[in-house]
């Protein structure tokens, strides 16, 4: 048995070697001239470019349009001919088809939208030719510019997993993918669990700061091509690298088979949520249900009662022990660009929130978000806040305070956690399995508008636990349902309560109104589920129905007897 498997393995290795040699041969044969510029399309392309593209990419394609200095992923500077998402080898020019795909599907996670539903196909083809003509440092027509298709050889995923969520990739492949990730040191940039928290010092070819992709947000992968959960996107990027960035290709280091496994692992970290086809982001969970908990609610984030995957439970079933835990709700964040020091490039675009409550301990809110690095500057702590209408009882109908800091007539109650890591944390540290405990202080604020935010005395809100684990900040808030404070929100059960969130990335020098915000969501304190009452009622209703059936039988039999006895005459003939 043992001997058999080893020979099988050697055979496999030999075959794989042969196969890769033959493929390499084929690939070399396919080395070809870059796609030349199609001159006849330039004029049409220029028209499209100057109406649609010039605003970000600039008049000469230098990536210096009016919007450029407020964008975090800068618009592409075409002049050097450096393009990220391609099927060609590292450093090479893209194929026409790559550029067409980029324009058609956009670059998710950046400001580049998908133009496929907006422009006609011939307009896209034309504008791509015009963009190629903006490249100055290299020439698409140059004889030395050869390109090699390094992606076709990948084929499609070996497990025949299908979209949109690509279920059914075996766990062994994912586990092996993790080993490949560690062996190739992907964590040095992407972090221990892929939150992109590995390296804070990276720059792109133009000297702009750049961070590694977070594998937990595959909808923000630039090369997602609007098919966010497809492991192909990852396998492609591993094969081609991203020109202009520190991301190299791993063609020589990782075999095709292993690239797929690595892709499967990377892909498995991305929460399966329903993606909005228009915005290319997960659809927010607008109702946060706080689960009633009979016994003691644990104030430890690591407690089993708080564990739940980010996945939508409707898409991926939860394990039995987690099935009754509150689900993680996806909250979308945007930059605050209304007042004061505006935030055009927030560092987090979402939060995950789950909640439990009971009469004795009050309301628990576990807020988590991916944040690549932590600030150690006491002036700029990492911050996250929950915002409530302070005077819920005064609101009429759907009325709410203004969604950022309230307004003069309708105040808001803000529970803000300021977090600071200990001395053991450095943003260049290697991934740490158990994470870092955070020192957290709570501020309770009353907001009556941007200019009227004051701190409350003698607050009741507690942060009972907070941790930074592999690029994710987790904070647990707790407060009694009712308090004495005049400006404290009084939390009723079984009622929809507006709630909003705010977040400050201290490492990016965010504070006060320079922040990320959400719009109003709703939370509801679910009433305890009285299963005994429900069971009794069900039995009573069933029993009543049995009685009804008995009565029906009796009635029917009686009528039959009356017919038989001739007491009643049955209608024999039609009219």
């Amino acid at each position: 048995m043992n001997i058999k498997t080893t020979t099988g393995k050697t055979l496999k290795i030999l075959l794989a070697l042969l196969f890769s040699v033959s493929i390499a041969g084929v690939a070399y044969a396919e080395d070809r001239q870059a796609d030349p510029i199609q001159q006849d399309k330039l004029e049409a392309g220029k028209k499209v470019y100057f109406k649609r593209c010039v605003w970000c990419h600039g008049v000469e394609g230098g990536g210096d349009g009016p919007s450029h200095d407020r964008l975090f992923t800068k618009p592409r500077n075409f002049i050097q001919g450096t393009f990220k998402i391609r099927w060609t080898n590292s450093g090479e020019l893209p194929r026409d088809q790559d550029l067409i795909n980029t324009v058609t599907h956009g670059l998710t996670g950046s400001a580049m939208p998908a133009w496929g539903d907006f422009l006609k196909d011939d307009e896209i083809e034309a504008v791509v030719q015009f963009v190629k003509s903006l490249v100055q440092d290299r020439k698409f027509d140059d004889e030395d510019e050869t390109i090699e298709d390094v992606v076709s050889e990948l084929g499609s995923n070996p497990w025949k997993a299908e979209g949109p969520y690509y279920h059914g990739i075996p766990q062994e492949a994912i586990d092996e993918g993790k080993k490949i990730m560690v062996a190739n040191k992907c964590f040095e940039c992407h972090g221990g669990e892929g939150a992109g928290d590995g390296n804070p010092t990276m720059k792109d070819d133009w000297g702009f700061p750049i961070v590694a992709a977070s594998w937990k947000e595959c909808w923000n992968f630039r090369g997602a091509r609007r098919n966010h959960f497809d492991p192909f996107n990852v396998a492609r990027t591993i094969s081609t690298g991203l020109n202009g960035t520190p991301m190299p290709n791993f063609r020589d280091k990782i075999s095709i088979e292993d690239r797929w496994k690595l892709a499967a692992f990377v892909n498995s970290l991305c929460p399966r949520k329903k993606i909005d086809r228009l915005t290319n982001k997960p659809i927010p969970d607008f109702l946060i249900s706080a689960k009633h908990t009979d016994g003691e609610i644990s104030s430890k984030i690591s407690d089993p009662m708080w564990q739940a995957p980010d996945h939508d439970p409707k898409i991926i079933d939860r394990t039995e022990e987690q099935e009754n835990n509150p689900r993680k709700n996806y909250i979308a964040l945007a930059g605050q660009i209304t007042r004061g020091n505006r935030n055009f490039d927030p560092k987090s675009d979402n939060l995950w929130v789950s909640s439990r409550w009971n009469e004795k301990q009050g309301l628990f809110y576990l807020v988590e978000y991916d944040n690549r690095f932590l600030s150690k500057d006491p002036e700029y702590p990492e911050g996250v806040a929950i915002q409530w209408p302070a005077k819920l009882q005064d609101l009429f109908g759907a009325e709410k305070p203004y969604f950022i800091f309230g307004d003069s007539k309708k105040p808001v109650d803000i529970w803000k956690a300021n977090m600071m890591p200990g001395d053991d944390y450095k943003d260049t540290n290697a991934p740490k399995e158990d994470g870092y405990q955070l020192t957290t202080t709570v501020q309770e604020l009353t907001g009556n508008g941007f200019d009227a935010v004051v701190e409350k005395e003698g607050g009741q809100v507690k942060v009972v636990d907070s941790i930074f684990h592999q690029g994710r900040v987790k904070v647990m808030f707790q407060r009694a349902l009712t308090t004495e404070g005049e400006m404290d929100v009084q939390i009723p059960s079984e009622q929809f309560i507006p709630v909003a969130f705010m977040q400050w990335a201290g490492w990016d020098k965010e504070k006060d109104e320079h922040q990320a915000i959400s719009t109003w969501y709703y939370t509801i304190l679910e009433p305890p589920v009285d299963t005994r009452h429900m069971l009794t009622m069900s039995f009573i209703m069933g029993g009543v129905f049995v009685g009804l059936q008995g009565w029906l039988v009796w009635m029917t039999k009686r009528t039959r007897k009356m017919y038989a006895d001739g007491k009643v005459i049955q209608d024999e003939r039609p009219f």
Partner: protein, 320 residues
């Protein structure tokens, strides 16, 4: 009895073949004169009639009534497209049920024939049927009770007016404007003359203003309203209501420029209550932009989308 069993088998099997085999063929992406779902439905009805009449199966009244009722259900649930809302579906099915009942009770004989198997089940002549029905129904009632009692919550629906009535005047940067009287001061020429002009390069006065408006737009507005002005900017996913889509014929295409001027200047906080000012993320742009910049952005939005602003009918009012 055997014959009616055969009828039931043929009906179920026929439906399975029709629904899985023929239905996809009859529902191509572009429906034809013959190749469409309604023709398919008629064919299925003919099949059912042919099988029962042609083979002289004479199914009992109860089974016939079941066929009729199910045909209606199948039509409203799967054939009729687009699918009607469930409230309407229930209304239609109630009418259909009444229709079926009329068919049953057209004369006392058919009605009795329909009743016969039910009565036989109740009194126990069909023993097995009685046991099955009389145990299943109470269980079903129990389960239904459990499901109704189990608390579940969905987010509340909130309605809002997308384009509220504008105020008659608005005060921007210390100056009061009568919305009915103002127009865009930069709309100096027919917009269509410039639809193929290049911003930044074309040095005409009009294109200069469009360029400046576009610059303001791409510095401030595209985060929400999007690079395509379709309301799908980078931040749009975070907001509810979603940012306005200017490509849509229901927004700037049907509004006057003065309305836009008011909305841009005052933003979400300037909305009346029926438009939920508390959840609108639209900033009051008068705090960041000059009056001229606001008018230029509006000029740009019409140039980019190709829409023409609505105008007040000045001729009609002067003729009075």
């Amino acid at each position: 009895m055997n014959k009616s069993f055969l009828s039931l088998i043929l009906a179920v099997a026929g439906w399975a073949v029709f629904h899985n085999g023929l239905f996809p063929i009859f529902t191509p992406e572009v429906a034809g004169w013959l190749q469409n779902r309604y023709v398919y439905y008629l064919l299925f009805c003919f099949y059912l009639i042919f099988v029962n009449v042609g083979m002289r199966l004479k199914p009992p009244m109860a089974l016939r009534a079941l066929y009729v009722w199910l045909l209606g259900y199948y039509f409203y649930d799967s054939i009729l497209t687009p699918h009607i809302p469930w409230t309407l579906f229930i209304t239609y099915m109630m009418l259909w049920t009444i229709g079926t009942f009329l068919y049953i009770s057209q004369d006392p004989t058919t009605f009795r024939e329909f009743r016969a198997p039910i009565v036989k089940t109740i009194v126990g002549e069909y023993k097995l049927a009685r046991i099955v029905v009389f145990t299943l129904l109470p269980l079903l009632v129990g389960f239904a009770t459990w499901n109704t009692l189990y608390p579940s919550f969905a987010e509340p629906v909130e309605l809002r007016t997308v384009h509220p009535a504008p105020p008659s005047t608005t005060k921007v940067h210390g100056k009061t404007y009568k919305l009915e009287e103002i127009g865009n001061p930069f709309r100096t020429d027919e917009q269509d003359n410039y639809k193929d002009s290049f911003p930044f390069i074309d040095k005409t006065e009009y294109m200069k203003n469009v360029t400046e408006g576009g610059t303001v737009f791409f510095e401030n507005c595209h985060y929400c309203h999007g690079d395509q002005l379709n309301g799908l900017g980078m931040f749009s996913h975070a907001f509810n209501p979603t940012p306005a889509n200017f490509i849509d014929p229901g927004t700037i295409a049907m509004l006057q420029e003065s309305f836009l001027f008011w909305r841009v200047s005052k933003g979400g906080p300037g909305l009346p209550n029926e438009s939920t000012p508390w959840s609108s993320a639209m900033p009051p742009w008068e705090e960041h932009l000059t009056t001229d910049e606001i008018w230029k952005v509006i000029l740009f939005e019409y140039w980019y989308t190709g829409w023409h602003p609505r105008t007040f009918d000045t001729e009609g009012s002067t003729a009075e």
